[in-house]
Symmetry: C2
Subunit: 454 residues, 2 copies
């Protein structure tokens, strides 16, 4: 009998698992079920499609169902998984077009159902022109609305909101961003969140408002049930043509309730380093799984497209009979606001205190090339290290200069728990168009080390 692998979910991890598994093994039957009508697309690219940096949404599609069919992978679109029966090794599928329900057998099941938006419980949330951004269709709808609008409200101050803020500002929309916490981008320390806020407000004075410590209590609409006002707890009434909810996501795992598949933080699926769940014949990959943080040695939930890709690949290798361990993550994230890069790796200073480390930090602002070169940009780095072990716990980086290079330079050192005294003399290649003679990231390490060593 041919082994039959059933994959549930068509975003990133599912298609990656399917494609890699086929490359590893030609003898396995592979069926992928997704409730959507397209598969294998880059959701991370949607803000740039909305901004109109990308014109054609189809360029976000990595592989079409036809591409998969050529590889002898069966793609089942608009087929939603309702239940998993782990003892019978079956999944219950609903055909979203015909509404028929049917069971499918598996020998190996891969759950890759991703994440779904969390909808806040606010009066008027069902009004028209209140969007979430998850699918390509969402992107098409938001872009169309933006192109005939003058004002927008973004709810929530996470990465997607910052990216949409760029998209809207670039398209001359007046934008109000509303965040219930005291800062946007809560993964950053307060000082860096403030610097980022200052940059955003300073770049297009008058076009952007950022309201923190502010909750939305209601949306009000016109006679056509189109949202027209956002009303906040402090009594503000903000006129708008549309709203995008960037109020977070959660693992898409409700259909697993009642099964013996063990869940983890935020109802993500508990997986081991081979991406296997608590059931021997069920794997999970992507945004629906939990993540092991290699700095804190704790389980967290950080849905990221890059992790989904690696997990899908790794799961496929293991299903194929190979050996791949996905050790964990460093909560690495990056985005930009126009030319201003925003990135954080590991943990911030506040978390370090909360978790019982004895952190020390340095903040440096330096030019990213030799000072006499043209077109230098500045990078501002906050490097956090542990006083006891001299290891790096995290780095935050912002600026119009080449922040990403400095951030990436630290990442293997965080993984390897490299001591500051080694890291600060790291042999980074030097040439005036690429960095100062002593790179800003080494500078930051030197300063933290000196603060620790007194």
């Amino acid at each position: 009998m041919t082994e039959k692998v059933v994959i549930i979910g068509g975003g990133t991890a599912g298609p990656k698992t399917a494609a890699k598994l086929r490359r590893e093994r030609s003898d396995i039957e592979i069926d992928l079920y997704t409730q959507e009508d397209i598969i294998s697309y880059s959701a991370c690219g949607l803000p740039y499609f909305i901004e109109n940096i990308i014109q054609n949404p189809e360029t976000l599609i990595i592989r079409t169902p036809e591409d998969f069919q050529k590889q002898n992978i069966n793609i089942h679109l608009k087929q939603k998984c309702l239940k998993v029966n782990t003892s019978e090794q079956t999944v219950l599928i609903e055909d979203l077009i015909t509404k028929n329900k049917y069971e499918v057998n598996y020998n190996i099941l891969v759950v890759a159902t991703g994440a779904i938006p969390v909808l806040p419980n606010i009066a008027g949330i069902d009004l028209k022109n209140i969007f979430t951004l998850r699918t390509i269709q969402d992107g098409i709808d938001i872009k169309a609305k933006m192109q005939q609008s003058k004002k927008a409200v973004l709810l929530g101050g996470g990465y997607i909101s910052v990216e949409l803020l760029e998209a809207f500002v670039h398209n001359n929309i007046q934008v109000t961003l509303i965040e219930k916490n005291q800062q946007i981008l809560k993964m950053f320390d307060e000082d860096f969140a403030q610097r980022i806020t200052d940059y955003i407000l300073g770049r297009n004075p008058g076009q952007v408002s950022i309201l923190t410590n502010e909750e939305v209590v209601a949306f009000s609409g016109n006679q056509e049930n189109e949202v027209k006002k956002v009303i906040t707890a402090s009594g503000k009434e903000i006129e708008t043509d549309f709203v995008v909810l960037g109020t977070g996501v959660r693992p898409n795992t409700d259909f697993l309730s009642g099964t013996d598949i063990k869940l983890s933080i935020n109802n993500s699926i508990k997986v081991d380093k081979t991406l296997r769940t608590s059931k021997y014949d069920i794997y999970a990959a992507g945004d629906c799984t939990d993540n092991f943080n290699l700095v804190t040695n704790r389980y967290i939930w950080v849905p990221m497209g890059s992790t989904a890709n690696k997990e899908g690949r790794c799961a496929a290798i293991n299903i194929a009979g190979g050996h791949c361990l996905f050790e964990g993550i460093l909560s690495s994230t990056i985005t930009k606001y126009f030319d201003f890069t925003i990135s954080i790796i590991g943990i911030n200073y506040k978390e370090a205190i909360e978790l019982g480390f004895q952190p020390e930090f340095a903040i440096v602002t330096k030019r990213d090339k030799a000072g006499y070169m043209p077109n230098t940009g500045t990078v501002t780095l906050k490097l956090i290290a542990d006083k006891n072990t001299h290891t790096i716990l995290g780095i935050q980086g912002i600026g119009e200069g080449d922040v990403n290079k400095r951030i990436n330079t630290v990442i293997p050192a965080i993984l390897e728990k490299t001591k500051l005294e080694s890291f600060m003399n790291l042999d980074l290649p030097y040439s005036p168009p690429y960095s100062p003679a002593i790179d800003p990231v080494l500078n930051a390490a030197q300063i933290v080390y000196q603060k620790i060593n007194g």
Copy 2:
């Protein structure tokens, strides 16, 4: 009695040692002697001054003698060190203006005399308009000559020649580069040297000639003793308006011959990790010292401005009574030819074989951002790992995309001997403007790992 530190050399490491030492200790007398008439400048910036990307050579000066004087550091210009008497703790100095000679006492001596050009033994080498590039004055002279010339010959195919090639091509000079070995940039594997050569030749067809396996046997001049032709062993006669010799450098240590200061490879000065020489009271830093290669565990000599900075800083900390270890280098280098980055870290494949490793490699060419984003560039990486240990031995990177970020990501992993199976799943931050979901450098690691694991 006040402790007296004498520093010989005014390029990079000497001034860095002086400045850092003063920050650490206000009670030490610091005297710096240099044979040049300026100190503390970035020689690495000279090609960009010649290219006229930088107009004013003074911008290359990091600190002036007056800056140092304010910090109570005595700078002695045009004062050449002729001899060191280690038993008497004196140096013999010649005043290059008055020709007077005099002795100076030290408690601690720092030798930071850098490197000097190797002049090939070729008939006609004393003709006018045959230059070497080391000092700011050299840069001024070459730039002035270039601006009234149409043709140039570069001897030697190292980094400086590639940088000068850009400078000359940018200024519409017809350039011939002559290299006696079978490839330019001998630190690269032959395949990558060829790719770089192809890029250079393809960018400005007809304006650049690169002759390899070719030796210059004579320069011939006109009646004013100006060079006019370069004659090669194969009988070529190349007309030119000027010549720049990029035929290598050697440690500037001749004045130490006959002392009991131990020399090392290429007559560089043997130093330990504290930058101390074989004499307890003598330190050395910068291009005149040997280097410990952390990949091969062998001593080599790789003069680099970044290393000089770090060594100067580290020497100063140790002289001040602190503790700083400079563990070694990874032979990291980078340059560019217009928008094309050229970089190598660690050892190449050929060296790996010669040194007894069992290397495997992967070459990947990928876009540096998500494929659907505008303005992507390609990066081509050659990642070399050891089959036995699964550790990374080196990486070569070229391309118009963001090569440097990928290169830097590997560096701590080389230092830490991170295994491929960990590195290939490294949590690099992902966003479409910064990288594909799986970064090219992780891609390269995945492929090498699969080749090793069969």
